[in-house]
């Protein structure tokens, strides 16, 4: 055992005056009595306690000395010699599987309790930091040696319904790699710094890719089996009100389990289908079935089982999205090609719809003859720029393009297109405003395809003559029309029937739009200039933005979280102190001894 503040051991000298005071103090007051003989009779009966009476003052002195010793040692902050005194980082797993009931409490509660015990054992002599991990690592407290701050941080940790994301602990692995491979002075310094901290993951062990530098303190393991939904989907089938549903179950029980699957639409109690089934141990084969008269809107898949350790995987929230095609109007001389390119994607469930008036998007050539204004469509797809237009400022001579070059191959407009195979015949020199996003350039940097937004309108311009270049006959022509239309309308990404918790959902709408999100709990949140949001709560969501009103759903759907059996997980925790620190024990001992002495003192004073 060593002492963090050994200077306080000098306080042991206080034992000397204490003993002196005690020896003086224990002399009792003398009281005269007129009936001494009566007192003698009374105390003759109590002679059996005389030994204790004689030694009581000594006991009292000894108790006070021990109490003083305990206080002196507590002030000196003793620490166990076995401990390496490294700074600690306690990473508490708060993924969905930690909500499993294990020994009458959740695994997260067990983890928080274990973390609290470690913090209590530090006794303010060692620094520690608290973090959680689910889809990523979040630090709850700074590195501090204040136990109260750490315990408060632990108490703040809330359960989540987010599954563990692979690589979430990589930041610890990265630091390890960097620190354990010193190649120069700088990394050697980092290595030295690294040896001063220790990271402990407190988890049920249902995580992947734990870096070697992390020690796993496993909690739970006595939970019963669990059955849950690990995959679910619902999609519209061609034909009116027909849909196909997919449900996949998994079980951590050792034996088959009889369950019922309830499908409800709209309200949770509006059950439209009940499917009794037997769930085999492990991940089961998916159940796929068709639904007649399946209305669009909210769907709920509910698993009814007798015993279950985890509740959040018993429900899957789905949305059967309505068909909302993008109306497109064609304004060009060669209408045939444009119209057919739109019609190619306007079949059952198709996203494009050809209209003759109005429309959300206008496809055509040249100036398109339309100025920006409230009556103008929202989006434009223009080929063969000519004349004056808000989307280019000046059109010059024709150029010969030999090697077109994509500036962003992953851009939604061109990611499905091989731009090098497009003959940019009829391309002209153009001057663009700085706001234009050039997607494809010629070898002399002449813009060939660009995207531009202004005054709430967007456009994709393709700098070629589709007739001269025979681009109408190219397979990329309808693809380019489709990609441009879905991109400009903010419909590039498929609207899923449900997202997994922790997954980033891309909402319909334009990039710079503002969306209002109503969460399953009823709270609303606003997304400014972004369409991406991380889905954290299971349930149904409402979305309102410039692209219209939408519904979304989020479910756990994680085989790793559902298969909660962690018996085979290998913990690699090195010895660590848990429970109260020596300082706490010494303080308690001191209080105990002082209390005992107070009892004796009380007896001496008032009997």
């Amino acid at each position: 055992m060593t002492f963090a503040n050994p200077i306080f051991l000098w306080s042991l000298l206080s034992l000397i005056p204490l003993a002196a005071i005690y020896l003086l103090k224990v002399r009792p007051n003398r009281k005269p009595t007129t009936a001494y003989f009566l007192w003698q009779d009374i105390f003759q009966e109590r002679r059996s306690n005389s030994l204790f009476q004689k030694l009581r003052d000594l006991f009292s002195l000894l108790l006070m000395m021990v109490a003083f010793l305990a206080v002196a040692f507590a002030l000196a902050k003793p620490v166990w010699q076995a401990d390496d005194q490294k700074d600690l980082v306690l990473v508490i797993d708060n993924t969905a599987s930690m909500n499993a009931i294990d020994s009458l409490s959740t695994r997260l509660d067990l983890a928080k309790k274990a973390a609290s015990e470690i913090v209590e054992s530090l006794g303010g002599t060692q620094r520690c930091s608290i973090a959680t991990v689910s889809d990523r690592v979040r630090y709850i407290s700074n590195l501090t040696d204040n136990p109260r701050d750490l315990l408060e941080a632990i108490a703040k940790i809330q359960p989540t319904e987010i599954p563990f994301r692979d690589g979430a602990l990589n930041e610890f692995a990265l630091s390890e790699t960097k620190d354990t491979a010193p190649s120069n002075d700088e990394t050697r310094v980092q290595t030295a710094a690294k040896t001063t901290w220790r990271t402990i993951l407190i988890s049920d062990g249902l995580v992947a890719d734990i870096p070697d530098s992390l020690e796993l303190l496993q909690v739970g393991g006595s939970a019963g089996g669990n059955v849950g939904i690990v995959a679910s989907d619902i999609q519209r089938l061609p034909g009116k009100d027909r849909a196909s549903a997919l449900i996949q179950l998994a079980s951590s029980f050792d034996a088959p389990v009889e369950v019922e699957i309830e499908l409800s639409v709209g309200e949770p109690d509006n059950v439209v289908k009940i499917i009794p089934t037997t769930v085999q141990p492990g991940i089961n084969k998916a159940l796929v079935f068709e639904l007649e008269n399946a209305p669009q809107g909210r769907w709920l898949v509910k698993l009814v089982t007798a015993t279950d350790a985890l509740k959040s995987d018993n429900r899957a929230f789905l949305v059967l999205h309505p068909v909302k095609p993008i109306p497109i109007r064609v304004a060009a001389e060669e209408r045939f090609f444009y119209e057919n390119s739109v019609l190619a994607f306007s079949g059952a469930g198709g996203l494009l719809q050809l209209v003759t008036t109005g429309g959300q998007m206008l496809v055509g050539q040249g100036e398109l003859g339309i100025q920006l204004g409230e009556s103008a469509p929202d989006d434009f797809l223009a080929f063969r720029p000519a004349g004056q237009s808000p989307w280019w400022s000046e059109v010059g001579d024709e150029i010969e393009v030999k090697l077109p070059r994509a500036t962003d191959e992953d851009h939604p407009v061109i990611r499905h297109i091989d731009v090098t195979s497009i003959p940019f015949v009829g391309a002209r020199r153009v001057t663009l405003s700085p706001a234009a996003e050039i997607l494809v350039r010629a070898e002399d940097d002449t813009p060939l395809i660009w995207r531009m937004s202004q005054a709430g309108k967007s456009a994709v311009v393709v700098n070629l003559d589709p007739l001269d270049s025979n681009f109408y006959f190219s397979a990329w022509f309808p693809v380019l029309v489709y990609s441009s239309a879905t991109h400009l309308a903010g419909r590039t990404d498929e609207l899923k029937s449900t997202w997994r918790t922790g997954e980033v959902a891309t909402l319909p709408g334009k990039d710079n739009s503002t969306s209002t999100l109503t969460l399953p709990g009823g709270e609303t949140t606003t997304l400014e200039n972004t369409r991406n949001t991380t889905m954290r709560q299971t349930g149904h969501y409402e979305i309102q933005n410039d692209a219209g009103q939408w519904q979304a759903a989020c479910s756990l759907l994680s085989p790793r979280e559902t298969l909660i059996d962690n018996q085979k997980v290998q913990a690699n925790l090195k010895p660590i102190r848990r429970g109260w620190s020596p300082v706490a024990w010494l303080t308690i001992a001191a209080i105990l001894f002082v209390t005992c002495e107070s009892v004796l003192f009380q007896r001496r004073k008032v009997g």
Partner: protein, 287 residues
């Protein structure tokens, strides 16, 4: 101050009350206890073997053919002895005891009885030699006033024997004490009564005697013998002590009742003249 004029006036009041209550002298009150020869007829009694033939009432015999004898009041000098406890245990209540002794002695001297006062502690100490008449009042009061507590251990039984050795004539003996004698009081009272004294006990105890306010660790010291003992007094011990004192006083009351000895218990909180008035109203110093 026992010789203070105001105090003496209070004593005078007591004497006047005594005359009124007792309708004469204290001696008349005492005559009912003793029968013998004299000139004043007192009562009849059946004749018994050895009785004086001269006292047979022949008229009664002639009328009823029963032999009865006539009894006459005794005529003798009445002597009152006050045994005043002056042991250390009386400290704190000794002045009150002296006031009681002064009141009773004043009445006796005014009634022309013989009066003697002794202090009892480890020995019998004469405080006032036998005297009679009003002229002895001031010496009596001064003697009382000068009396101090002392001695190392009160011995009531020894003092009773010493008293009997000095005064063998029957008399009225008034014992003023707290009766907290380590050796007890039974032998002393029996001894005095055995020798035909009219004994009257006046017990004076204060709250320090009957209640225990001591708590915790203390060193008890006997006020008389200076014996010491370190003890821890809990509420239980305090209760036991109070019970022991109550038992002791109850034992004194039983002992007095058994022997026909008058007993009055008082505390310094009650004025001495009120105590004496009560005694007189109850019929004097009789059981």
């Amino acid at each position: 101050m026992l010789t203070d004029p105001n105090f003496i006036r209070r004593l005078d009041s007591l004497y006047l009350l005594a005359r009124k209550v007792l309708s004469g002298s204290l001696q008349a009150d005492r005559k009912s206890m003793k029968k013998g020869t004299g000139i004043t007829f007192a009562d009849y009694a059946e004749y018994y073997m050895g009785a004086d033939y001269r006292s047979i009432d022949w008229r009664v015999f002639a009328k009823f053919e029963n032999l009865v004898i006539k009894l006459f009041e005794v005529e003798e000098d009445a002597t009152i002895y006050i045994l005043l406890d002056q042991s250390q245990s009386m400290t704190g209540k000794f002045d009150y005891a002296k006031q009681l002794a002064a009141g009773l002695g004043y009445i006796a001297l005014n009634c022309l009885d013989r009066l003697a006062v002794y202090g009892i502690s480890e020995n019998l100490t004469p405080l006032l030699t036998p005297c009679r008449g009003r002229g002895s009042v001031m010496p009596f009061l001064k003697g009382l006033q000068d009396a101090q507590t002392g001695g190392s251990d009160s011995q009531f039984n020894t003092c009773s024997r010493l008293f009997q050795a000095r005064h063998q004539r029957r008399s009225v003996v008034i014992v003023i004490s707290d009766f907290l004698f380590p050796t007890g009081f039974d032998d002393g009272l029996s001894y005095l009564q055995w020798h035909k004294h009219d004994v009257y006990c006046l017990q004076v105890q204060n709250e320090a005697d009957t209640r225990c306010e001591l708590k915790g660790d203390i060193e008890l010291e006997c006020v008389e013998t200076s014996q010491r003992r370190r003890v821890t007094i809990t509420p239980r011990e305090a209760k036991l002590y109070e019970q022991a004192v109550a038992n002791w006083n109850q034992q004194l009351a039983r002992s007095c009742a058994k022997r026909g000895i008058g007993l009055a218990s008082t505390t310094p909180e009650i004025s001495f003249d009120r105590v004496i008035q009560d005694i007189l109203r109850r019929g004097g110093l009789v059981a």
